[in-house]
């Protein structure tokens, strides 16, 4: 009987320690700065790219207006392959309703020209302030960014830095703020992000409608309310790398790098 008790105890001890470890600690994967990088990505994708696209499209429409018939075919294939362009005396309309560019009788390259533009939900007045320089003034009342983002304020000044085969390279100075409204099981969460360029920052159309930002930087401030209050500063620096751009993000006292 003593033997049996010993065996039972030994078996119980074996079972206790023989539990299988199936998941390792994820501590080594935790990167707090990653969420700040994500805020920067969201800002670029959902706020800056749609607004900058308005100017980019306006410049391409201007080229289209000035081109002869064969040149227009070429421009349509190159810049508007998914749209049908309808040209009227005072405006150019993208036939699927995603864009409208109303002229003031001048080329958008002429200093003083102001075009009322609508593209992918962004309504803005593009005004030429000098040679290859424009202000983009967003109509905050009628502009609709992709859900769940809404623009509260924005001032954007853009200069044409370069033009090459794959499009224009812009140099942009911008400041503004936007809000993200979401609801989850934890409740309604509101994220307000204030952003500004720390220096003129370059941008080029990269993937579809999205711009790649390089050589410059942003200061962002994020305020979260509802469920998980946070108020944090984010510093983003964009510098040239061997290939692409090195994105240096500083957040909560830590700095990390990403390659884009």
């Amino acid at each position: 009987m003593k033997n049996a008790i010993k065996i039972c105890l030994a078996a119980a001890a074996l079972m206790t320690v023989a539990g299988c470890k199936v998941d390792s600690s994820e501590e080594k994967y935790v990167n707090i700065v990653e969420e700040a990088y994500y805020v920067y990505c969201i800002t670029g994708e959902y706020v800056l790219s749609p607004v900058l696209s308005v100017l980019d499209r306006a410049l391409k429409v201007d080229m289209y207006v000035k081109a002869d018939q064969y040149g227009r075919y070429e421009l349509e294939d190159m810049y508007f392959p998914d749209y049908k362009l309808r040209l009227y005396d005072d405006k150019c309309v993208l036939a699927d309703g995603r864009g409208e560019f109303v002229f003031d009788g001048n080329s958008i390259l002429d200093e003083g020209a102001v075009w009322e533009c609508t593209f992918n939900g962004v309504v803005a007045a593009v005004s030429c302030t000098g040679q290859d320089e424009w202000d983009v003034s967003v109509d905050l009342q009628t502009t609709r960014l992709d859900t769940p983002y809404s623009l509260n304020a924005m001032k954007m000044h853009v200069a044409l830095a370069d033009s090459c085969g794959y499009g224009h390279v812009y140099e942009m100075t911008v400041e503004g703020d936007y809000t993200e409204h979401t609801s989850s099981w934890e409740g309604n969460t509101v994220v307000e992000v204030v952003f500004s360029t720390t220096e003129p920052t370059k941008a080029v159309l990269s993937r579809g409608p999205l711009f790649h930002f390089f050589n410059g930087g942003f200061d962002l401030h994020m305020d979260i309310s509802g469920g998980m209050e946070r108020s944090e500063d984010i510093e983003v620096r964009l510098s040239p790398a061997m290939a692409g751009t090195e994105v240096t993000v500083t957040y909560m006292g830590e700095t990390e790098f990403w390659r884009e």
């Binding site: 033997n3 049996a4 010993k6 065996i7 039972c8 078996a11 119980a12 074996l14 079972m15 023989a18 539990g19 299988c20 470890k21 199936v22 998941d23 390792s24 600690s25 994820e26 501590e27 994967y29 935790v30 990167n31 707090i32 990653e34 969420e35 994500y38 805020v39 969201i42 769940p148 993200e180 979401t182 989850s184 099981w185 934890e186 969460t189 994220v191 992000v193 994020m222 979260i224 469920g227 998980m228 946070r230 909560m252």
Partner: protein, 215 residues
């Protein structure tokens, strides 16, 4: 062939050593098989049970970043990280009654659990515990097709129900599920106190080891 035989022999010897019943065995006459109706208790541990606790957690995804599409979703999703996660395997307690030398009827209770702590990534403090527990109860019939005083070889089948509780950050969910065990082959070595090794499919584990007591 010789290597295989020697491995089987070594395994059998180890099993007998584990059961601690060598003295018990050696005291008996091995040539004369004696059957008597009576009861048995078994305590087993099975690796890789085919149950919800194991399947959910072995196949679970890792620490999530990106993909939620919103800043709030991203921050909420990556807020906590998991520590080491453990599966208990299937711990089983079986009562058996021997009706015939070839037929035994059992009641099996198994427990299977998963345990993991989650930590706040900003502070490193424990945020919440995630525990899944599954208790299965099933009647189980066993057919003994080799029976000597020392060794029994058998097959068996059981069908029952199991109760699953999953506790995490958002509270506890409870679910009732079917439970089963299909044992193509099992072996016991020993007479009164014996060691057990089984290959099964179901809630008792794919490979089980244990000890039993005949009375």
């Amino acid at each position: 062939m010789e290597r295989r035989l020697s491995r089987i022999l070594i395994s059998a010897v180890l099993l007998m050593l584990a059961s601690g019943s060598i003295a018990d065995i050696s005291a008996r006459d091995r040539n004369e098989f004696r059957f008597w109706q009576g009861s048995e208790l078994r305590l087993t541990w099975g690796a890789m049970p085919l149950d919800a606790v194991t399947l959910n957690n072995v196949m679970a995804g890792g620490y999530a970043v990106y993909g939620y599409g919103t800043i709030a979703g991203e921050i909420a999703n990556s807020r906590y990280y998991g520590g080491d996660g453990y599966l208990s395997g299937a711990i089983g307690l079986t009562y058996t009654y021997r009706f015939r030398k070839w037929f035994e009827l059992s009641g099996v209770v198994t427990y299977s659990g998963y345990y993991r702590d989650y930590f706040d990534k900003y502070t490193g403090n424990l945020a919440f515990k995630s525990n899944d527990n599954q208790i299965s109860v099933m009647p189980y019939v066993r057919f003994v097709w080799v029976h000597t005083n020392l060794v029994r070889l058998y097959s068996g089948i059981g069908l029952g129900v199991s109760f699953l509780t999953e506790t995490g950050q958002r509270g506890t969910d409870m679910t009732l599920l079917p439970a089963f065990a299909l044992t193509p082959i099992g072996i016991t070595v020993g007479t009164f106190v014996y060691g057990i090794a089984e290959v099964s499919l179901g809630n008792t584990g794919m490979f089980s080891l244990g000890i039993g007591y005949k009375f």
